[in-house]
Protein backbone atom coordinates (compact mmCIF):
# COMPACT_ATOMS: atom_id res chain seq x y z
CA UNK A 1 0.00 0.00 0.00
CA UNK A 2 2.21 2.77 -1.24
CA UNK A 3 -0.32 5.21 -2.63
CA UNK A 4 1.18 8.43 -1.32
CA UNK A 5 3.40 10.40 -3.68
CA UNK A 6 5.42 13.49 -2.85
CA UNK A 7 4.17 15.74 -5.59
CA UNK A 8 2.48 15.96 -8.96
CA UNK A 9 5.66 15.26 -10.94
CA UNK A 10 6.10 11.93 -9.20
CA UNK A 11 2.43 11.07 -9.30
CA UNK A 12 2.11 11.56 -13.06
CA UNK A 13 5.26 9.61 -13.83
CA UNK A 14 4.53 6.91 -16.33
CA UNK A 15 1.76 8.72 -18.22
CA UNK A 16 2.98 8.11 -21.76
CA UNK A 17 2.45 10.08 -24.95
CA UNK A 18 -0.84 9.02 -26.48
CA UNK A 19 -2.52 8.15 -23.17
CA UNK A 20 -6.25 8.50 -22.65
CA UNK A 21 -6.83 10.78 -19.67
CA UNK A 22 -9.89 11.76 -17.72
CA UNK A 23 -9.72 15.08 -15.91
CA UNK A 24 -12.26 15.97 -13.25
CA UNK A 25 -13.83 19.37 -12.83
CA UNK A 26 -16.67 21.49 -14.14
CA UNK A 27 -15.46 24.61 -15.86
CA UNK A 28 -12.45 25.59 -13.75
CA UNK A 29 -14.08 24.34 -10.54
CA UNK A 30 -12.48 21.28 -8.97
CA UNK A 31 -9.89 20.69 -11.69
CA UNK A 32 -6.61 18.84 -11.01
CA UNK A 33 -4.48 21.98 -11.24
CA UNK A 34 -1.27 20.37 -10.04
CA UNK A 35 -1.46 17.38 -12.39
CA UNK A 36 -2.16 19.62 -15.35
CA UNK A 37 0.81 21.85 -14.56
CA UNK A 38 3.05 18.80 -14.17
CA UNK A 39 1.90 17.45 -17.54
CA UNK A 40 2.58 20.83 -19.13
CA UNK A 41 6.04 20.86 -17.60
CA UNK A 42 6.73 17.32 -18.76
CA UNK A 43 5.31 17.97 -22.22
CA UNK A 44 3.50 14.65 -22.59
CA UNK A 45 1.87 14.73 -26.01
CA UNK A 46 -0.77 13.21 -28.27
CA UNK A 47 -3.16 12.98 -25.34
CA UNK A 48 -6.84 12.17 -25.50
CA UNK A 49 -8.53 14.21 -22.78
CA UNK A 50 -11.96 13.33 -21.47
CA UNK A 51 -13.29 16.19 -19.41
CA UNK A 52 -16.55 18.08 -19.19
CA UNK A 53 -14.84 21.25 -20.43
CA UNK A 54 -11.55 22.23 -22.00
CA UNK A 55 -10.45 24.99 -19.68
CA UNK A 56 -9.77 28.56 -20.75
CA UNK A 57 -6.87 29.91 -22.78
CA UNK A 58 -4.51 30.31 -19.86
CA UNK A 59 -5.81 27.86 -17.27
CA UNK A 60 -6.84 24.25 -16.89
CA UNK A 61 -6.70 22.05 -19.96
CA UNK A 62 -6.17 25.26 -21.93
CA UNK A 63 -2.54 25.19 -20.76
CA UNK A 64 -2.07 21.81 -22.42
CA UNK A 65 -3.88 22.91 -25.55
CA UNK A 66 -1.59 25.91 -25.87
CA UNK A 67 1.37 23.51 -25.95
CA UNK A 68 -0.41 21.26 -28.45
CA UNK A 69 -0.30 18.30 -26.11
CA UNK A 70 -3.89 17.34 -26.83
CA UNK A 71 -4.73 15.27 -29.87
CA UNK A 72 -8.37 14.69 -29.07
CA UNK A 73 -10.81 16.33 -26.69
CA UNK A 74 -13.94 14.54 -25.49
CA UNK A 75 -16.22 16.96 -23.66
CA UNK A 76 -19.77 18.24 -23.31
CA UNK A 77 -19.01 21.96 -23.65
CA UNK A 78 -15.89 23.64 -24.97
CA UNK A 79 -16.61 27.37 -25.11
CA UNK A 80 -14.49 30.16 -23.66
CA UNK A 81 -11.24 29.10 -25.32
CA UNK A 82 -9.88 30.87 -28.39
CA UNK A 83 -6.86 28.60 -28.89
CA UNK A 84 -9.13 25.58 -28.71
CA UNK A 85 -11.30 27.09 -31.42
CA UNK A 86 -8.30 27.85 -33.59
CA UNK A 87 -6.94 24.30 -33.35
CA UNK A 88 -10.35 22.83 -33.99
CA UNK A 89 -10.97 24.93 -37.09
CA UNK A 90 -7.47 24.27 -38.43
CA UNK A 91 -7.97 20.53 -37.99
CA UNK A 92 -5.13 20.14 -35.49
CA UNK A 93 -7.52 19.01 -32.79
CA UNK A 94 -10.14 16.30 -32.87
CA UNK A 95 -13.27 16.96 -30.82
CA UNK A 96 -16.06 14.65 -29.73
CA UNK A 97 -19.02 16.25 -28.00
CA UNK A 98 -21.11 14.19 -25.61
CA UNK A 99 -24.17 15.15 -23.58
CA UNK A 100 -23.08 15.95 -20.04
CA UNK A 101 -25.22 13.33 -18.32
CA UNK A 102 -24.14 10.69 -20.79
CA UNK A 103 -20.50 11.58 -20.15
CA UNK A 104 -20.95 11.30 -16.38
CA UNK A 105 -22.91 8.08 -16.55
CA UNK A 106 -20.51 6.39 -18.97
CA UNK A 107 -17.72 7.06 -16.46
CA UNK A 108 -19.82 5.74 -13.60
CA UNK A 109 -20.64 2.66 -15.65
CA UNK A 110 -16.93 1.83 -15.92
CA UNK A 111 -16.50 2.28 -12.18
CA UNK A 112 -19.47 0.02 -11.54
CA UNK A 113 -18.37 -2.68 -13.99
CA UNK A 114 -21.28 -2.08 -16.33
CA UNK A 115 -20.23 -2.26 -19.98
CA UNK A 116 -22.99 0.01 -21.26
CA UNK A 117 -25.92 2.13 -20.16
CA UNK A 118 -29.19 3.28 -21.68
CA UNK A 119 -30.05 6.97 -21.84
CA UNK A 120 -32.73 8.92 -23.67
CA UNK A 121 -30.36 11.87 -24.15
CA UNK A 122 -29.70 12.45 -27.81
CA UNK A 123 -32.41 10.22 -29.25
CA UNK A 124 -33.62 11.79 -32.49
CA UNK A 125 -30.60 14.10 -32.70
CA UNK A 126 -27.27 13.76 -34.43
CA UNK A 127 -25.83 12.36 -31.20
CA UNK A 128 -27.95 9.27 -31.81
CA UNK A 129 -26.78 8.68 -35.36
CA UNK A 130 -25.28 5.23 -35.79
CA UNK A 131 -26.10 4.22 -32.24
CA UNK A 132 -28.34 1.38 -31.18
CA UNK A 133 -31.78 2.54 -30.08
CA UNK A 134 -33.86 0.44 -27.77
CA UNK A 135 -37.38 1.00 -26.51
CA UNK A 136 -38.35 0.28 -22.90
CA UNK A 137 -41.86 1.20 -21.69
CA UNK A 138 -42.54 3.21 -24.84
CA UNK A 139 -39.49 5.38 -24.42
CA UNK A 140 -36.52 5.22 -26.76
CA UNK A 141 -33.02 5.02 -25.32
CA UNK A 142 -29.54 5.07 -26.81
CA UNK A 143 -27.12 2.34 -25.87
CA UNK A 144 -23.94 4.10 -24.75
CA UNK A 145 -20.73 2.30 -23.86
CA UNK A 146 -18.83 2.65 -20.60
CA UNK A 147 -15.86 5.00 -20.61
CA UNK A 148 -12.55 3.91 -19.18
CA UNK A 149 -9.34 5.92 -19.13
CA UNK A 150 -5.69 4.91 -18.83
CA UNK A 151 -5.34 7.56 -16.14
CA UNK A 152 -7.97 9.54 -14.29
CA UNK A 153 -6.74 12.79 -12.74
CA UNK A 154 -9.04 14.05 -10.03
CA UNK A 155 -9.01 16.80 -7.44
CA UNK A 156 -10.47 16.42 -3.97
CA UNK A 157 -10.57 18.60 -0.90
CA UNK A 158 -9.25 16.09 1.60
CA UNK A 159 -7.78 12.65 1.27
CA UNK A 160 -6.02 10.06 3.37
CA UNK A 161 -3.17 7.59 2.92
CA UNK A 162 -5.61 4.91 1.77
CA UNK A 163 -6.79 7.12 -1.07
CA UNK A 164 -10.16 7.89 0.49
CA UNK A 165 -11.44 11.21 -0.86
CA UNK A 166 -13.80 13.95 0.29
CA UNK A 167 -14.85 16.71 -2.08
CA UNK A 168 -16.06 20.20 -1.26
CA UNK A 169 -19.30 21.72 -2.56
CA UNK A 170 -19.72 21.80 -6.33
CA UNK A 171 -16.02 21.03 -6.80
CA UNK A 172 -17.23 17.43 -6.51
CA UNK A 173 -18.88 17.32 -9.98
CA UNK A 174 -17.18 14.79 -12.30
CA UNK A 175 -14.36 13.91 -9.92
CA UNK A 176 -15.99 10.91 -8.18
CA UNK A 177 -17.19 9.28 -11.40
CA UNK A 178 -13.86 9.75 -13.12
CA UNK A 179 -12.00 8.49 -10.05
CA UNK A 180 -13.95 5.25 -10.52
CA UNK A 181 -13.19 5.03 -14.23
CA UNK A 182 -9.42 5.25 -14.27
CA UNK A 183 -7.31 2.16 -14.79
CA UNK A 184 -4.91 4.23 -12.73
CA UNK A 185 -6.49 7.02 -10.74
CA UNK A 186 -4.32 9.86 -9.49
CA UNK A 187 -5.88 12.12 -6.87
CA UNK A 188 -4.56 15.48 -5.80
CA UNK A 189 -5.91 16.90 -2.57
CA UNK A 190 -5.67 20.18 -0.73
CA UNK A 191 -5.06 18.33 2.50
CA UNK A 192 -3.58 14.86 2.82
CA UNK A 193 -4.31 13.30 6.19
CA UNK A 194 -3.19 10.19 8.05
CA UNK A 195 -5.59 7.27 7.71
CA UNK A 196 -8.33 7.44 10.29
CA UNK A 197 -8.65 11.23 10.02
CA UNK A 198 -11.70 11.15 7.76
CA UNK A 199 -15.09 10.09 9.07
CA UNK A 200 -15.83 6.84 7.18
CA UNK A 201 -19.45 7.97 6.78
CA UNK A 202 -18.35 11.11 4.92
CA UNK A 203 -16.06 9.59 2.31
CA UNK A 204 -17.23 10.21 -1.24
CA UNK A 205 -14.67 8.09 -3.09
CA UNK A 206 -13.45 4.99 -1.24
CA UNK A 207 -9.72 4.46 -1.58
CA UNK A 208 -10.13 1.24 -3.55
CA UNK A 209 -10.67 3.43 -6.60
CA UNK A 210 -7.54 5.55 -6.02
CA UNK A 211 -4.05 4.34 -6.89
CA UNK A 212 -1.92 7.41 -6.27
CA UNK A 213 -2.50 10.43 -4.06
CA UNK A 214 -0.55 13.56 -3.24
CA UNK A 215 -1.05 16.88 -1.57
CA UNK A 216 -1.17 19.63 -4.14
CA UNK A 217 0.29 23.09 -3.71
CA UNK A 218 -0.44 26.66 -4.76
CA UNK A 219 -4.07 26.13 -5.64
CA UNK A 220 -5.25 29.05 -7.68
CA UNK A 221 -8.90 27.95 -7.93
CA UNK A 222 -9.66 30.48 -10.58
CA UNK A 223 -13.23 31.76 -10.86
CA UNK A 224 -14.62 31.80 -14.38
CA UNK A 225 -17.73 33.93 -13.89
CA UNK A 226 -17.50 36.12 -10.84
CA UNK A 227 -21.08 37.08 -10.11
CA UNK A 228 -21.96 38.99 -6.97
CA UNK A 229 -24.81 41.01 -5.57
CA UNK A 230 -24.46 44.29 -3.80
CA UNK A 231 -25.04 44.47 -0.09
CA UNK A 232 -28.09 46.63 -0.81
CA UNK A 233 -29.80 43.78 -2.70
Amino acid sequence: MKKVFNNADEAIAGIPDGAVLMLGGFGLCGIPENCIKALVKKGTGQLTCISNNAGVDDFGIGLMLRQKQVKKMIASYVGENAEFERQLLSGELEVELIPQGTLATRCMAAGYGMPAIFTPAGVGTEVGIGKEIRVFNNTAYLLELAFEADFALVKAWKGDEYGNLVYRETARNFNPVMAMAGKITIAEVEELLPSGSLDPDHIHTPGIYVHRIFQGTHYEKRIEQRTVRKLAD
Binding site: Y77, Q100, T102, A104, A171, R172, V177, K221, L231
Partner: protein
Protein backbone atom coordinates in the same frame (compact mmCIF):
# COMPACT_ATOMS: atom_id res chain seq x y z
CA UNK B 1 -44.19 43.34 -25.08
CA UNK B 2 -42.19 41.99 -22.16
CA UNK B 3 -38.57 42.65 -21.35
CA UNK B 4 -36.37 39.78 -20.19
CA UNK B 5 -37.13 40.36 -16.54
CA UNK B 6 -40.84 40.37 -17.24
CA UNK B 7 -40.56 37.10 -19.15
CA UNK B 8 -38.85 35.68 -16.06
CA UNK B 9 -41.60 37.15 -13.91
CA UNK B 10 -44.25 35.45 -16.01
CA UNK B 11 -42.34 32.16 -15.93
CA UNK B 12 -42.27 32.33 -12.14
CA UNK B 13 -46.05 31.87 -12.19
CA UNK B 14 -45.48 28.33 -13.40
CA UNK B 15 -43.80 27.41 -10.11
CA UNK B 16 -45.70 25.43 -7.52
CA UNK B 17 -44.93 24.80 -3.87
CA UNK B 18 -42.51 21.94 -3.40
CA UNK B 19 -41.23 22.03 -6.95
CA UNK B 20 -37.67 21.04 -7.80
CA UNK B 21 -36.65 23.26 -10.69
CA UNK B 22 -33.74 23.42 -13.09
CA UNK B 23 -33.14 26.84 -14.65
CA UNK B 24 -31.04 27.13 -17.78
CA UNK B 25 -28.62 29.90 -18.63
CA UNK B 26 -29.97 33.34 -19.67
CA UNK B 27 -33.58 34.37 -19.07
CA UNK B 28 -34.40 31.20 -17.10
CA UNK B 29 -31.77 32.10 -14.49
CA UNK B 30 -33.65 35.34 -13.83
CA UNK B 31 -36.72 33.37 -12.73
CA UNK B 32 -35.00 32.81 -9.39
CA UNK B 33 -35.52 36.51 -8.66
CA UNK B 34 -39.30 36.20 -8.91
CA UNK B 35 -40.14 33.14 -6.84
CA UNK B 36 -43.30 34.17 -4.94
CA UNK B 37 -42.85 34.57 -1.20
CA UNK B 38 -44.10 31.57 0.73
CA UNK B 39 -43.51 29.22 -2.16
CA UNK B 40 -40.93 26.59 -1.34
CA UNK B 41 -39.03 25.92 -4.54
CA UNK B 42 -35.69 24.10 -4.66
CA UNK B 43 -33.35 25.02 -7.48
CA UNK B 44 -31.23 22.27 -8.99
CA UNK B 45 -27.93 23.08 -10.63
CA UNK B 46 -26.84 20.16 -12.77
CA UNK B 47 -23.19 20.49 -11.81
CA UNK B 48 -24.22 18.96 -8.50
CA UNK B 49 -26.41 21.04 -6.20
CA UNK B 50 -29.96 21.12 -4.88
CA UNK B 51 -30.80 24.32 -3.05
CA UNK B 52 -29.06 27.02 -5.07
CA UNK B 53 -29.24 30.46 -3.49
CA UNK B 54 -28.57 33.98 -4.80
CA UNK B 55 -25.21 35.34 -5.93
CA UNK B 56 -22.77 35.92 -3.06
CA UNK B 57 -22.04 39.35 -1.69
CA UNK B 58 -18.91 40.95 -3.11
CA UNK B 59 -15.88 39.40 -1.44
CA UNK B 60 -17.74 36.27 -0.37
CA UNK B 61 -17.34 34.35 -3.62
CA UNK B 62 -16.28 30.74 -3.14
CA UNK B 63 -14.48 29.19 -6.14
CA UNK B 64 -15.76 25.74 -5.10
CA UNK B 65 -19.36 26.90 -5.31
CA UNK B 66 -20.64 27.62 -8.79
CA UNK B 67 -23.73 26.91 -10.86
CA UNK B 68 -24.01 25.24 -14.23
CA UNK B 69 -23.36 28.62 -15.86
CA UNK B 70 -20.06 28.69 -13.94
CA UNK B 71 -21.25 31.69 -11.95
CA UNK B 72 -20.39 32.07 -8.27
CA UNK B 73 -23.46 31.34 -6.16
CA UNK B 74 -24.55 30.56 -2.61
CA UNK B 75 -26.65 27.79 -1.09
CA UNK B 76 -29.83 27.94 0.95
CA UNK B 77 -30.46 25.95 4.16
CA UNK B 78 -31.35 22.36 3.28
CA UNK B 79 -29.08 22.19 0.25
CA UNK B 80 -27.22 19.07 -0.83
CA UNK B 81 -24.20 18.45 -3.04
CA UNK B 82 -23.73 15.37 -5.23
CA UNK B 83 -21.72 14.22 -8.22
CA UNK B 84 -22.54 14.66 -11.90
CA UNK B 85 -23.81 11.11 -12.33
CA UNK B 86 -26.35 11.46 -9.55
CA UNK B 87 -27.29 14.90 -10.80
CA UNK B 88 -28.22 13.61 -14.22
CA UNK B 89 -29.60 10.49 -12.58
CA UNK B 90 -32.26 12.50 -10.81
CA UNK B 91 -32.91 14.46 -13.98
CA UNK B 92 -33.23 11.26 -16.04
CA UNK B 93 -35.49 9.68 -13.44
CA UNK B 94 -37.90 12.59 -13.75
CA UNK B 95 -37.40 13.82 -10.20
CA UNK B 96 -36.99 17.42 -11.35
CA UNK B 97 -40.51 18.86 -11.63
CA UNK B 98 -39.83 21.71 -14.00
CA UNK B 99 -37.06 22.64 -16.40
CA UNK B 100 -36.92 26.10 -17.97
CA UNK B 101 -34.42 26.66 -20.71
CA UNK B 102 -33.66 28.88 -23.65
CA UNK B 103 -33.90 27.87 -27.30
CA UNK B 104 -32.97 28.97 -30.78
CA UNK B 105 -36.00 27.23 -32.31
CA UNK B 106 -39.05 25.32 -31.13
CA UNK B 107 -41.32 23.35 -33.42
CA UNK B 108 -45.07 22.98 -33.23
CA UNK B 109 -44.45 19.35 -32.22
CA UNK B 110 -42.33 20.41 -29.26
CA UNK B 111 -38.95 19.72 -30.83
CA UNK B 112 -36.21 22.03 -29.62
CA UNK B 113 -32.94 23.24 -31.16
CA UNK B 114 -30.55 25.14 -28.93
CA UNK B 115 -27.04 23.81 -29.25
CA UNK B 116 -25.62 24.08 -32.72
CA UNK B 117 -25.61 26.38 -35.71
CA UNK B 118 -24.06 24.76 -38.79
CA UNK B 119 -21.08 26.74 -39.98
CA UNK B 120 -20.51 28.29 -36.59
CA UNK B 121 -18.08 27.00 -33.98
CA UNK B 122 -19.95 24.33 -32.03
CA UNK B 123 -19.43 24.65 -28.32
CA UNK B 124 -21.35 21.59 -27.27
CA UNK B 125 -24.67 20.62 -25.82
CA UNK B 126 -23.60 20.62 -22.17
CA UNK B 127 -26.46 19.17 -20.18
CA UNK B 128 -29.21 20.37 -22.50
CA UNK B 129 -29.79 17.07 -24.32
CA UNK B 130 -30.05 15.18 -21.04
CA UNK B 131 -32.45 17.74 -19.63
CA UNK B 132 -34.80 17.86 -22.61
CA UNK B 133 -34.79 14.09 -23.04
CA UNK B 134 -35.85 13.42 -19.47
CA UNK B 135 -37.65 16.30 -17.81
CA UNK B 136 -41.36 15.81 -17.23
CA UNK B 137 -42.20 19.43 -17.76
CA UNK B 138 -40.11 21.62 -20.04
CA UNK B 139 -40.83 25.28 -20.64
CA UNK B 140 -38.85 27.25 -23.17
CA UNK B 141 -38.11 30.90 -22.49
CA UNK B 142 -37.00 32.81 -25.56
CA UNK B 143 -37.61 35.71 -27.87
CA UNK B 144 -40.40 35.11 -30.34
CA UNK B 145 -38.18 36.00 -33.29
CA UNK B 146 -34.48 35.91 -34.06
CA UNK B 147 -32.37 39.04 -34.62
CA UNK B 148 -33.36 38.95 -38.31
CA UNK B 149 -37.02 39.10 -37.31
CA UNK B 150 -37.71 35.50 -38.33
CA UNK B 151 -40.03 33.41 -36.21
CA UNK B 152 -38.43 30.96 -33.78
CA UNK B 153 -41.74 29.07 -33.44
CA UNK B 154 -41.65 26.88 -36.51
CA UNK B 155 -43.49 24.04 -38.22
CA UNK B 156 -40.23 22.09 -37.90
CA UNK B 157 -36.83 23.09 -36.56
CA UNK B 158 -34.25 24.00 -39.19
CA UNK B 159 -31.27 23.75 -36.86
CA UNK B 160 -29.89 20.45 -35.52
CA UNK B 161 -32.18 19.18 -32.78
CA UNK B 162 -31.44 19.06 -29.10
CA UNK B 163 -34.52 17.00 -28.32
CA UNK B 164 -37.68 15.66 -29.90
CA UNK B 165 -41.29 16.34 -28.87
CA UNK B 166 -40.35 17.43 -25.39
CA UNK B 167 -41.27 21.09 -24.93
CA UNK B 168 -44.61 21.62 -23.16
CA UNK B 169 -44.86 25.40 -23.13
CA UNK B 170 -43.19 28.47 -24.61
CA UNK B 171 -43.00 31.90 -22.98
CA UNK B 172 -41.77 34.78 -25.15
CA UNK B 173 -41.83 38.56 -24.97
CA UNK B 174 -45.14 38.39 -26.85
CA UNK B 175 -47.07 35.37 -25.64
CA UNK B 176 -47.52 32.21 -23.63
CA UNK B 177 -48.23 29.14 -25.75
CA UNK B 178 -48.85 25.50 -24.97
CA UNK B 179 -47.55 22.81 -27.29
CA UNK B 180 -50.54 20.62 -28.11
CA UNK B 181 -51.14 17.78 -30.52
CA UNK B 182 -52.43 20.36 -32.97
CA UNK B 183 -49.61 22.88 -32.63
CA UNK B 184 -48.90 26.05 -30.63
CA UNK B 185 -51.99 26.94 -28.62
CA UNK B 186 -52.05 30.61 -27.70
CA UNK B 187 -52.85 31.03 -24.01
CA UNK B 188 -51.94 34.62 -23.19
CA UNK B 189 -50.82 37.82 -24.89
CA UNK B 190 -48.23 40.15 -23.42
CA UNK B 191 -49.65 43.51 -22.34
CA UNK B 192 -50.26 45.66 -25.41
CA UNK B 193 -49.55 42.86 -27.88
CA UNK B 194 -52.27 41.92 -30.35
CA UNK B 195 -53.22 38.44 -31.48
CA UNK B 196 -52.44 39.63 -35.01
CA UNK B 197 -48.84 40.43 -34.11
CA UNK B 198 -48.42 36.99 -32.53
CA UNK B 199 -49.94 35.37 -35.62
CA UNK B 200 -47.58 37.33 -37.85
CA UNK B 201 -44.54 36.26 -35.85
CA UNK B 202 -45.45 32.59 -35.40
CA UNK B 203 -44.47 30.43 -38.37
CA UNK B 204 -45.66 27.14 -36.87
CA UNK B 205 -49.31 26.20 -36.66
CA UNK B 206 -51.03 28.52 -34.20
CA UNK B 207 -54.27 27.60 -32.47
CA UNK B 208 -56.42 30.48 -31.28
CA UNK B 209 -59.60 29.62 -29.45
CA UNK B 210 -61.92 32.30 -28.14
CA UNK B 211 -60.75 35.49 -26.46
CA UNK B 212 -57.00 35.45 -25.60
CA UNK B 213 -56.46 37.14 -22.24
CA UNK B 214 -53.66 39.57 -21.58
CA UNK B 215 -51.17 38.02 -19.19
CA UNK B 216 -51.03 39.15 -15.57
CA UNK B 217 -47.55 39.53 -14.13
Amino acid sequence: MLNKNQIAQRLAKELKDGYYVNLGIGIPTLVANYIPAGLNVVLQSENGLLGMGPFPFDGEEDPDLINAGKQTITTVPGSAFFDSAMSFGMIRAGKVDLTILGAMEVSEKGDIANWKIPGKMVKGMGGAMDLVASAKNIIVAMMHTNPKGESKLLPACMLPLTGVACVKKVVTELAVLDITAGGFKLLERAPGVTVEEIMAKTAGKLIIEGEIPEMIL
